[in-house]
Amino acid sequence: MIQIVRLVAQRIALGLFTLLIVTLLIFLAVELLPGDFVDAILRQGRTQESVEVLRRQIGLDQPAYVRYFSWLTNAAQGDLGYSFSNERPVSDLIGNRLYNTFFLAGYAAAMAVPVALTFGILAALYRNSVFDRVVNITALSAISSPEFLAAYILIFVFSIQLGWLPSLAHIAIDTSLWESLKLLFLPAVTLTLVTVAHMMRMTRAAIINLMTSPYIEMALLKGVGPKRLILRHALPNALSPIVNVVAMNLAYLVVGVVVVEVVFVYPGLGQLLVDSVSKRDMPVVQAGCLVFAVTYIGLNLVADILSIITNPRLLNPS
């Protein structure tokens, strides 16, 4: 147990260091983009005078390293600053969208993970059967088509043809949970379609991989039935790779859904980040990327810990 605590502490420290590097990289990347916030915001309306005034107002006349370190010291104290474009606190801008993004990701995960695991296990159990093939082909076709295609087909069938579900997924603060679940059903299904295959195939492969090991053969010879064989003997040992691929997909559900946000007009973090990058709105870009980086690092940490708990051998790499 103490080993696990030490490992977690180590990982968190490493995670913080990674975050620091991420902020620096993001800052440099946005600096390298042609044009700054002032050029982007004034667009066709720019004149020399208004450019200079706006630069001075925002502090863009300072050298880059000064801006980075002043941002960093403020952020370390929990002050994410104000958006360049509308002078709103970044925390306000991000707050609601962060909730939206996590809500949709959680909803999609609640659908995708059980479906993927169940079908993965069943496919392993009945491997090479017609069932296995149908499941595989369906999942692979779903992941091979772009998200917006799946989204448009779902909208076409369920919103336009049948009229059961709305094509705009707009939830407000006062939308009830039940109503939100209904509004977000199509986006969640879209995300499920594009994430299931990866998790399902990994589950299937991990289990099949174990099926040839001697201890499974032993269990078979002992007379264990197929259901118990997989759930009790094979699955616990296959959990480690499965947990890792699930974590990766959960991270994708948080950081990679901007296309789905656009098609369903859902106010999530992805759209905010795209807008902010195109406007070079540095404080918002930094904060958004921090959220994404924390998500990635956090989910990986959880996956590692779960892997170790299910497979203590990983604690002592020889």
């Binding site: 044009g35 050029d39 094509s167 707009h170 905010l272 807008d275």
Partner: protein
């Protein structure tokens, strides 16, 4: 009103398979295409509500209530819900009094006095006074202003309060159209707080009160029960959303989730028109696409080269292929048919490869190689337009090399930087305003770097000319000069195309902007 449940219409034959075969591009339009012909039931639509729901293609998370930052139709539409100007452009294109009840111009057109309407109140109950007007105008002036409207007001020398309801503005140069310019979308009147215009609150004298504002997402407005305009602002409330994806926007209208959309997708609009619950509106205004050439750079410094390029483009083909018929050929000057002094008898520049070659010869050239910078950030279809132009110009011995630029940063890195690039203009309600925005020698947006002495003299004369007829004649001559000697190709004027559900009603539609001069909130009503 309920949507009809079964329209018994059939799938357009080209949809059965081709929609899929066209691959990604085809499927992107699938939702929209198919829906137009297929039965629609919308269980969640709430058409009985008195809230008007609007889906607009513009709007971004960086939007601000500061009118000095307004750039696209979203904030202009919201802004005119919240605030009024001193003057406004009416539905027929005439100048109407708004917060200014009347005005006087001195004989030299350099001193203007505006008499404000009495008894007008802001949303918070404060009365409108001359101080508010001065603060609002000064928001866009002075050394500390970062407003995009600064060049517009650069001709203002000073502005002063004569009494609580009278404002005087003195100009540096004569401008008989100054009252028109005060109708500009940046110049909404805000309340003065400590001498500064308060834009953060969204407080104004307009027909709607701000409920909530989520940039890039949604704005909620409620009817102003105390609105000073009679018989205006008829909707109980307004819910204005950003729906950037045109398929999503069309779907939202089809399924009854919104009542009004702007920028209808021209590729599928004929299918939208088949739906009896939807009306599609088309207005010819001043919006035009332009291809400026830097007159201070070779080879464009030679007017013969510019004329060759003007004769090397087939405008009708751009109207047919890019605008799908929703527009008209341009004549290389920025004055549209809805402008009062549009010169209709000016001969149309034609697509004539022989003539183009003749002008090239006059410029001592046997052929011409030019780079044309294009990105769809300039306007939707800009890259395709450039490619079509390339094809047209080939037969005139002009080789146009299309350089595809990134959308991101287009206005700061390409426009006004590359000598030959794509651009668009919304146009202006008056000729003098349009010409002084980007054609006069000292205009900051003279994206052609074009300096024409006679043009500038005549423009100044026109802006000082009090007689409308004579001014019209001068404007006619200015249009001719720009067509023959200007440094811009203006291939097309693009119509405003938008769509509403059938229960939205309106009178005559203004042509200065889309959605009835972007004042649909104030001018339209539910049946």
């Amino acid at each position: 009103m309920k949507r009809s449940k079964d329209q018994n219409t059939v799938i357009p034959p080209n949809l059965r398979r081709r929609g899929f075969l066209k691959g990604v591009a085809g499927t992107a339009a699938l939702g929209t295409l198919a829906s137009a012909g297929w039965p629609v039931r919308a269980a969640w639509a709430s058409p009985d509500s008195d809230t008007v729901r609007v889906g607009l293609g513009h709007g971004s998370t960086g939007d601000s209530l500061d009118p000095g930052t307004y750039f696209d139709a979203y904030m202009m539409f919201v802004g005119w819900g919240l605030r009024n100007n001193l003057t406004e452009i009416g539905q027929s294109g005439d100048l109407l009094p708004e917060l200014a009840e009347s005005w006087d111009m001195s004989t030299d057109a350099m001193k203007w006095t505006f008499n404000l309407r009495k008894g007008v109140e802001f949303h918070d109950g404060k009365s409108l006074t001359a101080q508010d007007v001065v603060a609002s105008i000064n928001h866009h002036r002075g050394d500390d202003s970062s407003s995009a409207a600064r060049p517009l007001l650069s001709g203002v020398k000073d502005i002063s309060v004569l009494n609580s309801h009278t404002v005087q503005i003195r100009l540096r140069t004569p401008n008989v159209e100054f009252a028109h310019m005060l109708s500009d979308f940046h110049l909404g009147i805000m309340p003065a707080v400590d001498g500064k215009a308060d834009w953060r609150s969204g407080n104004g004298t307009g027909g709607y009160v701000l409920e909530s504002f989520e940039p890039g997402e949604r704005t909620m407005l409620r009817r102003n029960p105390n609105y000073w305009k009679k018989a205006a602002a008829h909707f109980e409330a307004a819910d204005i959303r950003v729906i950037a994806d045109h398929t999503a926007r069309t779907n939202a209208l089809m399924t009854g989730a919104v009542d009004i959309i702007d920028r209808a997708d021209l590729q599928t609009i004929h299918l939208l028109k088949q739906n009896p619950d939807i009306q599609v509106e088309q207005v010819s205004g001043t919006q035009h696409y332009s291809i400026p050439m830097h007159a201070n750079a070779s080879p464009f410094s030679d007017n013969n080269v510019r004329l060759a390029l003007k004769h090397g483009i087939d405008r009708q083909s751009i109207v047919d292929n890019i605008l799908r018929g929703h527009g008209r050929p341009g004549n290389d000057h920025p004055i549209g048919v809805s402008n009062r002094h549009h010169s209709a008898d000016l001969a149309q520049t034609s697509y004539d490869p022989d003539k183009a070659q003749y002008y090239l010869k006059k410029a001592d050239m046997s052929g011409l190689d030019v780079n044309l910078s294009a990105a769809d950030a300039a306007f939707r279809g800009a890259v395709d337009t450039a490619v079509l132009y390339q094809e047209h110009a080939k037969s005139a011995g002009i080789n146009i090399n299309v350089e595809k630029e990134p959308n991101d940063g287009y206005w700061s890195n390409v426009w006004m930087k590359k000598p030959f690039s794509m651009c668009y203009w919304g146009g202006q309600p008056t000729e003098g305003w349009m010409f002084s925005t980007s054609y006069s020698a000292n205009a900051p947006w003279n994206d052609m770097f074009w300096k024409h002495e006679r043009f500038n003299t005549l423009l100044n004369n026109a802006l000082a000319e009090r007689d409308v007829e004579q001014r019209g004649e001068l404007y006619g001559e200015l249009q001719r000069i720009v067509r023959d000697e200007g440094s811009v190709v203006i291939p097309v004027f693009a119509d405003h195309v938008f769509a509403t559900s059938a229960r939205v009603k309106h009178g005559e539609l203004a042509a200065n902007w889309e959605l009835d001069g972007l004042k649909g909130l104030e001018r339209w009503w539910f049946a």
